[in-house]
Each structure stands twice: as C-alpha cells, then as structure tokens.
Subunit: 346 residues, 2 copies
Amino acid sequence: MGISLVKRTITRDDVAREAGVSPATVSYVINNGPRPVTDETREKVLAAINKLGYQPNALARNLRMQKTNSIGLIIPDNKNTFFSDNALGVEQIAFDNGYNVIMCHSAYRLDRELAYIHMLISHQAAGVIWIPCSEDSAGAKLLESFHIPFVLLDRVIQGVTSPSIKADNFKAAYLATNHLVQLGHRRIGFIKRPVDLNHSIARLNGYKQALQDANIPFDPDLVVPGGFLFQDGSVAGRQLLSMASPPTAITAYNDMNTIGAMHAAQEMGIRIPEDLSFAGIDDIAQSEYCFPPLTTVRIPTFEMGKMSANLLIALIREELPEDQKHHCLDVELIVRESTAPPCNSK
Amino acid sequence: MGISLVKRTITRDDVAREAGVSPATVSYVINNGPRPVTDETREKVLAAINKLGYQPNALARNLRMQKTNSIGLIIPDNKNTFFSDNALGVEQIAFDNGYNVIMCHSAYRLDRELAYIHMLISHQAAGVIWIPCSEDSAGAKLLESFHIPFVLLDRVIQGVTSPSIKADNFKAAYLATNHLVQLGHRRIGFIKRPVDLNHSIARLNGYKQALQDANIPFDPDLVVPGGFLFQDGSVAGRQLLSMASPPTAITAYNDMNTIGAMHAAQEMGIRIPEDLSFAGIDDIAQSEYCFPPLTTVRIPTFEMGKMSANLLIALIREELPEDQKHHCLDVELIVRESTAPPCNSK
DNA sequence: TCTCCAGAGGGGAGCACTCAACAAAACTGC
DNA sequence: GCAGTTTTGTTGAGTGCTCCCCTCTGGAGA
C-alpha cells in the first residue's frame, strides 16, 4: 500500500489493465452498453474499479460525446428570496435528472449576463435557464447561434421565441389593487419598477385595469419609481406620502418595495393598516414576517423554477411539443394584516 | 452566406484554415502565449475568429490542461438567506477570478453531499467550498484522496484539517444571552439545534457561559430543540412558554427559530418585548423586518462567502500560507426592538 | 470435419485542445 | 555571402473517453 506522492489520476486504462480486459470493455461496464458484457467480465471490471477507486473523467466523456450534463442558471440576485427560490426549484429537478447547475449571478448587469453566456457556450452547456435582467436580445441570439437550448424564467424578451415560464403578472397586480379597491380605497399609490420591462409593465397595467374597472380615474402622480433594495421602496413611499393629497393605500411592483415603503410610513408615525394600507406582489419570505404581515399576491417561484427545469430538459431531449413551450402560472391573493378599509370610510 | 442546417461547432482548426495559419498559432493568439505571435498574424487570426464566431471549447482545453476553472459550492439550503448570502459572496469572488461555480444543494442530506462530491471529482473541479450538513468525514476523505482542494465554510469537521472559515459562534451566543442578562433577565430559554454539531455546541456553550458569568445557574429544562423551519421554532417556543415557570426571555441557535418562537408567543397573546424578550443569532433578512424587529447577532455571511472563495483560490494556486488556513470572523450584537427588561423588574 | 454465424472482446480513430520539439525564416556580424 | 543566432510558425503526441469495426471463440448444422 504505497502512498503515491505523484498526483496522478486513475484512468480507464488502469482499470482495464487491472481487470485484464480492454479499455472499451470498461466503458461498456460503466455505461451499461451499448454492447453487452458477460457477468464474469463485469465482476472483474467492477472489482478493479473498486480496488483502484476509479472515477470516470466527465471532461473526456463530454468532449467525446459532444455534450455535457451541465445547465446554466442565470439569475439577477440570489439574495432575493424570489430568485433563490427559483434557483432551488431548478436545482432540484436538475439533480433528479442527472444534471448539474452552474450558478451565474448577473447582479442585474447585462455585461455579466453576456460574460456568463459566453462561458456557458464555451463549456458546451446542455442548456440554460435564464432570468434576464433586461430585454436586450444579444444573449438570446448568441445562445441560438450555438444551438444551446434555453428557457426564459419569470421574464420574456421581445422577439425571442424560446420556451418561457412566467407568472400572471397582470393578474397579480390586478388582484392586489382590486383587493384595496374592494376595501374602499380610491387613492392608491403604485411604486413601479425603475426600468420598464414587459413583466413590470404587465403589473402596472394590472393596477390600471383594476382602477378602471372600479371607475377610478388613473392619476399618474400616484405612480412613482422604486428600486431593487428595501431602501428604494422607502424613498418611494416617502415621496407618495409627502404629496398634497397622499394615497390611502399603496401597492407596488413587488414586496421588497412595499415593505420598504411600509417601514417609511411607520417611521413617519403612520399606523398600518388603520391609517394606510399596503399590498405587495411576490410573497417573498419577509412578507409573512414583517409587521404587520403583508397582504400580497403569491407568485409560485419554487414551482416556476421546477417547471423551467423540466421544460429545459424536455427541450434538450427534443421532446417538447410546440404547444407546451410557454406557460403562465396562476397567482393567488394572500390577505394578511397590512390592509384595511380607509380611515375616512369608518 | 448559407445557413448551415447541420449543427456543427466551429473549431480552432476552422479558424486556422480561415486565417491561413496553423492551429497552434490560433492557440497562441487566444492564450497570449506561451510563444509570441507577430501583430500581423494576430490580426489575421482575430479577424478569422470574429468572422466565424469562434468560441474555444473549454472541455477540450480542460481535458488537455488536466484542470478546470470550476469550483463546487455545496450548501444545505439556498432558501435560507444565511446560506444564499454565503453563495453570493463565493460567486462574486469566483467570477472576478475567472472561476465558475457549480451549485450543489445538499438539502441537509449526507447522501446528496456525497453524490455531489462524486460529481465534482468526476468533473475535475478545481476546488470546492463546502458547508457541511454533518460531521461525517467521508466526503472530506474522498476529496483529499483525489487531491481536490476544499475549504469548509461556516462549519468544521472533526479531524479535517482543510482551511476553514467560520464565525465566532461562541461569542455570538454569548453576546445574545449576555444582552438579555444585562437587561435583567434570569430565566432565559434557549432553542438549540436538533442535531448537535460543533458550531451549534459552541453556541450552546456561549449561552451557558453568559449565564455562568452572571451567576445564573444553568437549567437544562430551559433548553429545547428547534429545527430547520420557522414552524419548528414555533413549536419550541410553545414548549418553553407552557412550562410551569416559563422564561422571561428566549434566545436560540438561530434567527429562524427565534422568529418562529416569537410568532408563537404573539399568537398566545404575549406582548413583545414588554412581556417577553427575544434575541437571535445570524441576522438573516427577515430579522430586520419581522415584528418587532429582532435583536440579534450579525454573522457576516457575505464576507464569509467571499473569504472562503479567496482562501480556496489561494489554495488552488498553492499560495496559501500555513498560518492563514483558518479564520474565525468576529460577530456583532445588533439591538433592535425585541428585547427589553423583564416586566417584573419594572 | 468443415462451414457458418452469433456473441463477446479488442483495436483504434477521433473529440478539440496545449505545448514541446522541430523547421523555417529573418536578422546579425564578420 | 555565409555561419550563427534569434524570432516566428508548424508538426504531432498526448489528454481520457466512446463507439465503429474488426477479430476471435465456440457451438450448431450440414
């Protein structure tokens, strides 16, 4: 049992030599085919593998096979439980199907997205799941030109026909706003995404539609931009509350901004929900535990992650029917304690 | 400009042909060495690369070089902001240094950890960052036998001498408990980790030491097991509060359990912090936004992730001095509004 | 006894790349 | 103008694997 000081990996040829068979036979044992092997030979090979502690080299295998079992996951922000939940769903399905996921964190930056896409191409990724941070189509073009299947998660890019998974963003905002309307609110502020993407426009439209259905005129002054951080929501909230005629309820593009705004209101001594109601969208982890617990619309992030991975794997296997390429998941209003009728209606 | 219907990748040989040079020259241009190339030749090669849209095949390169630029990150739960923050730090440093990270989600399961370790070995990972879910050393042995450098993050495994990054868990619990002691509490409940690992034992010991330093006798009845979910903390909280002589303050192994217990108390109609104080450890995202905002001890998770990646990269490059292999990061008490003097002291 | 054939294993090319070793060209000094 | 030296470019072996194609063995049928 000599300790080898030289760092040398055990290859398939070593196993073949140890077992007294040819390298090809070792492959046939490991891969269970494509040619049969007698039980006797198989035993010999397995014994040799065990003795030497052999691990096949996936790199060589992938090079030869012209494909890998790696899928790239491009996400904007792993700190946001919305996305980390997506990631969890993706990883679970990937693992169950023998894929490994390469985590690509774009930090909402297009250049990093593109850098990662180049990396994934270079690594011959079997496919990629992409939560784009913009509607730039350069990355999609690149993936297409290299025939790398990909699915868009949460967001969609104009002109890109790849499979996609999204939530019903219009309905999400409609439900949140309508809930406030039903409680009797008529001046409802909306914190919108700083940059307009079609999913954020859908949410803004849901807000507008709910107002329209209640015959409440749309007031553009009640729509202010938020940001990616809680603090941004806080700033937006203050802006809304410092208006001459402030809203009696606030909803937003997402929970992050809603919670930020709620904190700002509390710092200003405003009671929630007695003086001011808040409804969010996403149902991130913080929403249930903030004070008061936030009324919000649940987006099924984990399920979306799982679904996108299933879609991608079907796409890789070329088993995805044309009519099942695009999915829009339903959303659900979750009423907690941040919403109540407006105080003047009491 | 014919559209190729056959899916064939452009290789370095195609570029060589296009540029009228040898394949090796193309490599020298791409890698900037090891042999020099005249500017004229370089231009020709670059033009050909551009024209053909060539992307080098990382698989072939890695196979030839006998190494990759992939690092594995084994984490127990990406949903928990504690770990997703670790992941973010790792990814950032990895990206900046040209490494890509393979996300390995163990879901607190030893079998998945081992499955992923096998996968990483097979993929010739350059290194791995590992947040182990137990103190089993099989995975570490495996990595060692394949000479794959790894660093342990957050936790440490008995007998494993690999570099490690952890927080001062003893101090964290000491600070939380001592804060409660200083406020005048003498019956302080502790929700411990369901399974004892050395970092959770350190936290329990920190709790005990703070009591001892204040001459408060340790009461084993005040220590109950929690779990991985908010609900588990809730159950543990109810258990503590249903005691004949319940505690006036509760602290726990982590924020998840603390927040769970706090919710349980609120459901029982107990006012926080007037009737009961809560102090946690970790400072996860929820802690600042729960109600009341949680007094806790901040663990620098993001910094720990970054540091572990820097350590791993130094280790891979064999530039890590022996005396810098182990780091224990300092922690900080963050006083918010979930703690107050006990009501009987008023 | 010989031929035929099926079943099982071996040989070897090829995947896209790197780099040492070699060849050729360009430059130097006399 | 030529040997010696430097600079630039090419050749080809090797990385570990898969799978096509070939060989070998042995049993069935003539």
